[in-house]
């Protein structure tokens, strides 16, 4: 109840993994851990779909529909009849993006 964040679009194909460990380096939420033969998917629900792992995987063992989870941008897109997945985040115009 009241948890919209249990499922994500992250898909992992361990049979393709060459154990380069890039995914364990780039994930900011410890979704992947180092394993003996291949990387281990240890905390899938923590995935925020940033896409760092998939983009840095040299053998496409990881797939994720990445995007900025910016409500303001998505609500705006929905209101103006645009595709909610097409737009980036409207940083600079409104309240969005942690200043990291």
């Amino acid at each position: 109840m009241f948890d919209s964040y249990r499922e994500t679009t992250l898909k992992y194909y361990p049979d393709r993994c060459i154990n380069c460990r890039r995914c364990t380096q780039v994930c900011p939420h410890g979704v992947f851990a180092e394993g003996k033969e291949h990387a281990e998917l240890v905390n899938a629900p923590a995935c925020m779909e940033c896409g760092a792992c998939a983009g840095n995987c040299p053998v496409q063992a990881i797939e994720v529909e990445s995007g900025v989870g910016c409500a303001a941008a998505m609500i705006g897109a929905a209101l103006w009849g645009k595709d909610m997945d097409s737009g980036g985040c409207g940083c600079g115009k409104g309240s969005c993006c942690g200043e990291k």
Binding site: Q25, N56, A71, C91, C97, K100
Partner: protein, 356 residues
């Protein structure tokens, strides 16, 4: 100082050019210069950070992209990559106090590393281009770049290597861990994890609050004339709850969804208003019910909407989850706010017509 600006150009040909701020060497003209920088954060820098945090000239906190040198780097010194946002660059250079290194600044349009990486402006293409235009190949002997871990969503390390010959090493999430990383070339699990501590959340609140100020004042003025001074405070309470209290209390509020957290906080903030209106002895009983309901319906909707918007600033919400929240809760927010506004409107009209 001017003649020290570029170590890439030879001193003999550059020495006479003391008036021009950039190196005038014909062979090294343009962006191949190496600009000097320090680890010192001046008062002007601090003022710039303050203004950035308050959303003043939001996209104007920029640094000229290119190659910078900190201390006295040699061709073997490390190259640290960051964004051309003053808060990002200043975090990096101040963390590297006493170090001799190069800092390569990508053009991210003045957006921080993580957000720029999400949009792809801090990305493979810009990195490869910047390596090229700065002539980095001839500046350093090695072929290693230290990138911020949070730049990874925009960068494909293997693509960068293929296109530029430079190997990407992902450094720590936070600039303050750079010295430790550079000494061991290893990031601990803590250095790799993004957190969202109270200080990081609170520092974002002005940027959340400032854009909401003007609409809030307008609503407050209208309410002041329709329903009096207490009612005029309600929009401020709801907006402050959503933009300041909510980020501050985020992990303490029950449930996982931002919308439900916001609804709960909104009800808590609305209760005193409801109680105040109920204890008004002048009103007839049916009007008291309406007056009690209006804040309990409108304020949580406003707070919850602002809370949902904070997902964009948070460090852990997924796009899939936020989308689910939008479809689940936006209709609820609109519905309760609409009923609340109808309650308020009935009261307002009667107030104007009959003076109750």
């Amino acid at each position: 100082m001017t003649e020290k600006i570029s170590s890439a150009c030879s001193r003999s040909s550059c020495a006479p050019v003391t008036e021009t701020p950039v190196c005038g060497c014909p062979s090294n003209a343009g962006s191949s210069e190496i600009r000097p920088t320090t680890s010192t954060i001046s008062f002007a820098n601090k003022l710039d950070h303050f203004l950035a945090r308050w959303g003043v000239n939001r996209m104007g906190h920029i640094i000229v992209p290119g190659l910078y040198r900190l201390g006295v780097p040699t061709p073997d010194s490390p190259v640290i990559v960051t964004a051309n946002y003053t808060l990002s660059f200043d975090a990096v250079r101040s963390a590297l106090k006493g170090a001799d290194c190069y800092i390569l600044i990508l053009d991210t349009n003045g957006v921080n590393v993580w957000c720029a990486a999400g949009k792809g402006t801090f990305g493979t293409d810009e990195l490869v281009r910047r390596i090229d235009v700065t002539g980095l190949v001839s500046v350093v002997n090695h072929r290693v770049l230290v990138l911020p871990q949070l730049g990874a969503p925009g960068v494909s390390a293997h693509e960068v290597q293929r296109k530029s010959g430079f190997r990407v090493e992902y450094g720590p999430v936070r600039a303050r861990d750079l010295p430790a990383f550079l000494s061991t070339r290893k990031a601990t699990p803590e250095m790799r994890r993004v957190t969202f501590p109270v200080i990081d959340r609170v520092v974002l609140t002005p940027v959340e609050f400032v854009p909401a100020v003007l609409p809030t004042i307008i609503v407050a003025v209208v309410l002041y004339f329709l329903a009096g001074p207490v009612a005029a405070l309600a929009p401020f309470a709801a907006v402050l709850a959503g933009t300041v209290l909510f980020p501050a209390l985020l992990p303490l509020l029950p449930t996982k969804d931002f919308s439900t957290k916001g609804l709960i906080l909104g009800v808590i903030v609305a209760l005193p208003f409801s109680v105040t209106f109920v204890s008004n002895p002048v009103l007839p009983s049916w009007a008291i019910s309406l007056a009690a309901l209006a804040p309990l319906l409108i304020m949580p909707a406003v707070t919850a909407y602002l809370a949902l918007n904070f997902t964009g600033a948070s460090t852990f919400t997924s796009r899939t989850g936020v989308k689910k929240e939008i479809f689940r809760y936006i209709p609820v927010m609109v519905a309760i706010a609409a009923i609340g506004v109808v309650c308020g409107a009935i009261l307002g009209i009667l107030h104007l017509m009959r003076g109750i």
